[in-house]
């Protein structure tokens, strides 16, 4: 191994001059002693005159440098921002000569690319989230479409037999009533009329018929809801004042509201909107019925309407029992109900959502247990 070649200071100065990194030498009073070509170019880029070259050095570097020159610690880095550029200074102490030099590294481009990368990542994340949402919506709407077809098919299949049963039940009621008329008439022998077996059978027939009628009505009600669900395209598209729709729905739910619930109307100035009025009335009705059912005793339903750009908003708030968090996320799911057998079909709100979506609108719900629930319907004017 040969001896290391010691460069002359002249050679070192040449290297420093040719080095592509800006290099600056200064003494412990902060006076600039030397600057290489790259450093002068940096000053030019930053539009700092040569006489003010010390401005470029980061604050407090001398204080940090002092103990290093005294033999405590080694070279260190400082980063500062000047004229929109991020500069990294690596301070190298020259202990023997009580002076120091700094190599400058311009981190601006690096930082900018990092920032840009972060922005891209954020954009990607957002796009991904949007895609996931769109996918969920697509699945949901496809689910609804196929459910619609299924429901239409079922409703159609059940229609004939239930029609038959319903008619038979009515005929049976009439027949039993005729039978009773006969038993009560003068021609009927009293021992037949008062025969315990006859009396018992007549009683059973009447009870069962009454029961069947209730059961039939309930089935037909469900079928009617299913039909509404499956046949949402019916009816005419018109320009209407939706206040009329809300008011007519209020009339229909009057029996549930009566003197128990105060209805506060805060109607704004709305343009007429292009919609299927029957369907929207169904939505208002559904939410109003729910609101009135959520209020156990006395309370208030507030209906507020207002315009926002090309959209109209309807909020229906109740002071009812509210909806718990885990129920809130499911209330628009078809078949979800908390109302118990025979009261709700669990289709109401899913139908509402379908109607609003078909109108290119949105339906949202907010609720607090014990405080009440607010439904917000947003519809485009066109």
């Amino acid at each position: 191994m040969s001896e290391p070649i010691l460069n002359t200071s002249e050679e070192v100065a040449e290297y420093a001059e040719a080095c592509p990194f800006p290099i600056v030498e200064f003494d412990m009073q902060g006076r600039i002693l030397l600057m290489n070509r790259a450093f002068l170019e940096l000053l030019e880029r930053l539009k700092i005159p040569r006489e003010e070259a010390d401005r470029i050095l980061p604050d407090g570097y001398l204080t940090q440098l002092q103990p290093v020159l005294d033999g405590k610690g080694a070279a260190f880095d400082l980063v500062r921002e000047i004229e929109g550029r991020f500069l990294e200074f690596t301070f190298v102490p020259l202990r023997a000569k009580r002076k120091s030099f700094a190599i400058v590294n311009d981190l601006t481009d690096q930082r900018r690319s990092a920032q840009r990368l972060q922005d891209y990542a954020r954009e990607l994340e957002q796009a991904n989230r949007q895609m996931k949402e769109a996918q969920a919506q697509l699945i949901q709407s496809e689910k609804m479409a196929s459910l619609g077809q299924l429901v239409a098919g079922i409703a159609h299949e059940i229609n004939t037999p239930i029609g038959s049963i319903n008619s038979n039940n009515d005929t049976l009621i009439r027949s039993v009533s005729r039978m009773q008329d006969f038993l009560n008439c003068a021609q009927c022998p009293p021992d037949v009329r008062e025969n315990p077996e006859v009396v018992k059978i007549m009683g059973i027939l009447e009870d069962i018929n009454r029961n069947n009628r209730i059961a039939c009505d309930r089935i037909m009600n469900i079928i009617r809801s299913l039909k509404n669900f499956a046949r949402l395209d019916e009816g005419e598209r018109r320009r209407v004042d939706i206040h009329e729709g809300i008011d007519s729905s209020l009339i229909l739910v009057h029996h549930q509201i009566k003197n128990r619930i105060h209805v506060a109307k805060e109607y704004g100035d709305l343009p007429e909107i292009q919609c299927y009025p029957n369907q929207l009335s169904q939505v208002f009705m559904n939410i109003l019925v729910n609101a009135s059912q959520a209020i156990p005793d006395k309370g208030t339903i507030t209906i507020r309407t207002f315009r926002e750009g090309d959209e109209v908003n309807v909020t229906i708030s109740d002071t009812g029992i509210g909806i718990s968090k885990d129920h809130l996320s499911r209330i628009f799911d078809p078949g979800f109900t908390t109302k118990g057998a025979g009261v709700g079909t669990g289709l109401g709100l899913s139908i509402c959502r379908k109607i609003i979506q078909d109108h290119h609108g949105r339906i949202a719900v907010e609720s607090e247990v014990g405080k009440g629930t607010t439904f917000t319907i947003t519809l485009p004017v066109q």
């Binding site: 239409a152 409703a155 159609h156 229609n159 004939t160 037999p161 239930i162 029609g163 038959s164 319903n166 008619s167 038979n168 009515d170 005929t171 009439r174 027949s175 005729r178 037909m220 079928i223 039909k227 046949r231």
Partner: protein, 159 residues
């Protein structure tokens, strides 16, 4: 209409259960004679012998749909009221048929018995009124002929 000549209703539905339901209801509530067919083709064949006053038909049937069937009934018996019994999905077709085939009415399934009875009775009243009108027209024509005859005689006397 004389009591000796009962009113005949022709009822066609491919579902036996519907026929039984309506037949039973009409049996307890009316004096109509009810002829039922599950096949519209067979119903058409029997039409001539039945002396039908009113026809009720289902819409969706495998052999022939109710509108076609009632159209054929119209060709044979133009004055007989025709009622279509429809499932909910056929409503638009039914409304169209009221115009195209000249239906008297349509009833949606599941039907209400009282509505059915009322629609049948109103339909029959229409036939009865039409029949009476025809009779009156014939009477007037007869009277007119008699008058013309008398007029001729008078003219002959004065001529």
């Amino acid at each position: 209409m004389p009591a000796s000549d009962p009113i005949t209703i022709l009822l066609v539905d491919d579902e036996e259960m519907v026929l039984t339901s309506i037949r039973s209801f009409l049996a307890i509530e009316t004096d109509y004679r009810v002829s039922t067919f599950t096949s519209p083709v067979k119903a058409l064949q029997a039409l001539d012998q039945l002396n039908v006053d009113l026809v009720v038909s289902d819409y969706l049937m495998p052999e022939m749909d109710g509108i076609t069937f009632l159209g054929k009934v119209k060709e044979k018996l133009p004055h007989v009221p025709r009622i279509l019994l429809t499932g909910y999905a056929d409503k638009e077709n039914a409304i169209k048929a009221i115009n195209d085939v000249g239906l008297y009415q349509y009833i949606e399934k599941p039907w209400n018995n009282d509505d059915l009875k009322l629609i049948i009775r109103n339909g029959l009243e229409k036939t009865i009124l039409l029949k009476r009108l025809e009779e009156k027209i014939r009477e007037v024509e007869r009277a007119q002929n008699e008058l013309t005859e008398v007029q001729k005689q008078i003219l002959r006397i004065f001529a």
